[in-house]
Symmetry: C2
Subunit: 452 residues, 2 copies
């Protein structure tokens, strides 16, 4: 493929073909061993760059793999042989409007950078994937990312009021805007959120912001059994809306404790970290209600703090769980969710799957919203273990579907989970998805192999 026209259409240094660099853009954090190698990486600096790249790609029928920070866990940004990897990591502008409580951001800004920029205006962008320090806001929108606060504050789509998006043929459209209410035409903004780069490339987002989050009270509780922990979760969510309600199992508790030495109870079967951000003394009152629920469910130890920094240390410990467990070996990362009453069934079912396949599966969860991350430890040099790990990976998704849940709560389908998507959605919804994909990307150049 002749890249001359593309190179000529873009600013100097935007199109890169160096072999080492191409190699570094082959995979995202899903580390898909089947990743291909791109023809070139385009590091766009503007909407125009994105548009020109797509125009060229359509003209030459070259696949385009849109990429944010490359921190995706489902292989949504895995390179394909002969494709262009189109990264928005250099598009990093942000404008905050405190009056409308909105921010206009480019996709390459990290989630944490968005949070910091709006905090300077006393505002808050709630969605908080555990990877918030390294994941991009564009990737968050593309996967409809979640996080820890979603149990109370919802997911990315709830904060996207508008966007600029470049379509497959390079046409750039502006959808929605800084308005809480807008019923003019189809809900196109929301369609592009979660579309994982298969319908267009987001080049700008208009985000809804909230006033700064009040200081949180924090409860940490250790449980002797998984049943006791899930009972506490259901009691808590039935009585109030925590601002965070996180679950760690024994494997992850010990992995995190190995890293942090912060005094977590290594004997516990499960640990809950629950927080409240209700105003003033209501945070403490809600924390007391949550602590009482944990005690009633049989917690062996319940710790309660009003100190935001101390509470944040436990939230950070929970966020560290994935990298900590990863020290045990490479992980197959699950992201299955179930309706909350089935959480106990999911957790016990995962334990059975782990035992049956003789693999280690650590479960951490955004327990309050039923979204769990079973982490399957494997070893690429052990073919038999790897096969068992992959079998467990599929069985966990089968289980989630059987429990009325989803194969992915917040990571997206990408390439790793797409084989299971028809089992969840069924043939009619897959056909509907295909009709929309074909209408918006008739040549199939946008992120081929992701979702569909």
């Amino acid at each position: 493929m002749d890249l001359h026209d593309l190179i000529a259409a873009l600013p100097d240094g935007t199109v890169l073909t160096d072999a080492d660099l191409l190699a570094s853009y082959r995979q995202d954090w899903a580390r898909d061993p089947d990743a291909g190698t791109a023809l070139a990486v385009v590091r766009a600096t503007s909407t125009d760059d994105v548009s020109a790249t797509l125009r060229w790609a359509t003209a030459h029928r070259v696949p385009v793999i849109p990429r944010g920070a490359g921190s995706g866990l489902s292989g949504g940004a895995t390179a394909v042989d002969g494709a262009i990897v189109l990264t928005t990591e250099r598009m990093r502008d942000i404008t905050v409007d405190p009056v409308t409580r909105t921010a206009v951001v480019q996709p390459g800004l990290l989630n944490a950078e968005v949070k910091r920029a709006v905090a300077e205006h006393g505002l808050w962008y709630p969605p908080d994937p555990s990877s918030f320090e390294i994941c991009s806001i564009g990737g968050n929108a593309a996967t409809n990312a979640g996080g820890l606060c979603c149990v109370k504050y919802g997911v990315t789509t709830d904060y996207v009021l508008g966007m600029q998006v470049a379509l497959a043929d390079g046409t750039v459209v502006r959808l929605g805007g800084p308005r809480l209410k807008d019923s003019a035409g189809l809900s196109l903004t929301k369609l592009f959120v979660g579309s994982e780069g298969t319908l267009g490339v987001i080049t700008e987002l208009t985000l809804r912001l909230l006033p700064a989050q009040p200081p949180q009270s924090t409860v940490v509780a250790s449980f002797p059994t998984l049943t006791a922990a899930t009972e506490a979760i259901l009691t808590i969510t039935g009585e109030l809306r925590p601002s965070m309600l996180e679950f760690m199992d024994s494997v992850s508790i010990n992995a995190v404790e190995d890293e942090l030495r912060m005094g977590l109870d290594r004997q516990a079967a499960a640990l809950l970290v629950a927080r409240s951000d209700a105003p003033g003394e209501f945070a403490r009152r809600e924390a007391e209600i949550m602590a009482a629920a944990c005690e009633k469910a049989g917690a062996t130890e319940v710790f309660h703090t009003e100190d935001p920094a101390e509470g944040e240390a436990f939230a950070a410990a929970r966020r560290l769980a994935i990298p900590a467990v990863e020290k045990l070996g490479p992980l197959l990362l699950e992201d299955v969710g179930v309706p909350l009453p089935r959480l106990g069934d999911l957790v016990s079912g995962v334990a059975e799957i782990a035992e049956r396949n003789a693999v280690t599966v650590s479960v951490i969860a955004h327990a309050g919203d039923g979204n769990t991350h079973p982490l399957i430890v494997h070893d690429p040099s052990d073919a038999d273990l790897t096969e068992r790990a992959h079998r467990a990976f599929g069985e966990i998704m089968d289980l989630a579907i059987a429990l009325g849940g989803t194969i992915t709560g917040e990571h997206g389908v990408g390439r790793l989970k797409k084989a299971w998507l028809p089992d969840q959605l069924g043939p009619d919804v897959m056909a509907l998805t295909r009709r929309i994909k074909d209408a918006l990307d008739p040549d199939g150049i946008l992120n081929p192999g992701a979702i569909l």
Copy 2:
């Protein structure tokens, strides 16, 4: 057209062709004088009925006008000659699940009935169109309806987690479910919300619920000028998130006072009704902040109450504004929204348009989110006045677009506003809309003439 197959496919009494009845289903509350007359009205009792009707309509290329309670204000349910009006008003089941804080509801239930049913479980469905006692939840989803609490709690789409929807050819699909987080596949649920019956017919909704709303504190303030009122609005929204922030102008104040005799200040240029539902004494504190903002902006009278019933009386007065102003004459109902900082420009611009066209325009507004309802009084027996009213109707939408706003914040485009939609969205977004419409409704039988 031979209706025999349709009648045979549906339960007895579902297909109605009585002339009086057909006449009563010609219009919705937009009272479009150009409404046609349907071939038949299908009063569906189940998803199967809806599916069978669409299957028949596709086979015979007969247009279908989906209809909820018929309370729409943009003519989204206006009948078309030779069409089937497909009403979901008899589909009225609801199941509330307090554990997942969700409700599964059929589309014919009224918004108020949903609120009451979930309140029995200590739960709350926030979206609250002023018409909540007479509008259906299916219609709310079809128009992405808003209301008074949206300034703090968002709009209908923020509460729709899943749905069952019948597609143009009668295929029934289930999308989403009782899960706060779900990134599996395209965001199809959200695409159908706000699609005004042009992509499918919603036969069931899974709604997200919140814990019961705490008691609200209420501030009512009278202002000598529109400028003073808009200044207060911007100060209030900059300092906190009210649970309601409503605006009435002089015409609507007097029209409501004529009805209710509750002692509203007839001399005022504007009235604000602001509420806080922060927990415990924080509601009073927020009300004090809002009252102080009103006083600082020059309010002539500021009233403040902790009594929920007394506060609700003022909210009800605001909700009565449209029917009260309607006593002055038939109304052309606007629904334009602007980014909040442009609210003053919109209100003063509407006054200029009214003067230039020599028509009475009363402005009421969900001021906190920039969504306004200019009410244009006309008289169908006065051709010249009617023409001027229609000109003002268009000019107000032109103004909203020029101010970076929307032609409809919560009512939908329907048939009344579709001529202005291309001006707001532009040709590329219209083309994108058309591609999705054609992909999902290739024969164009679903609500033809609405939106597109």
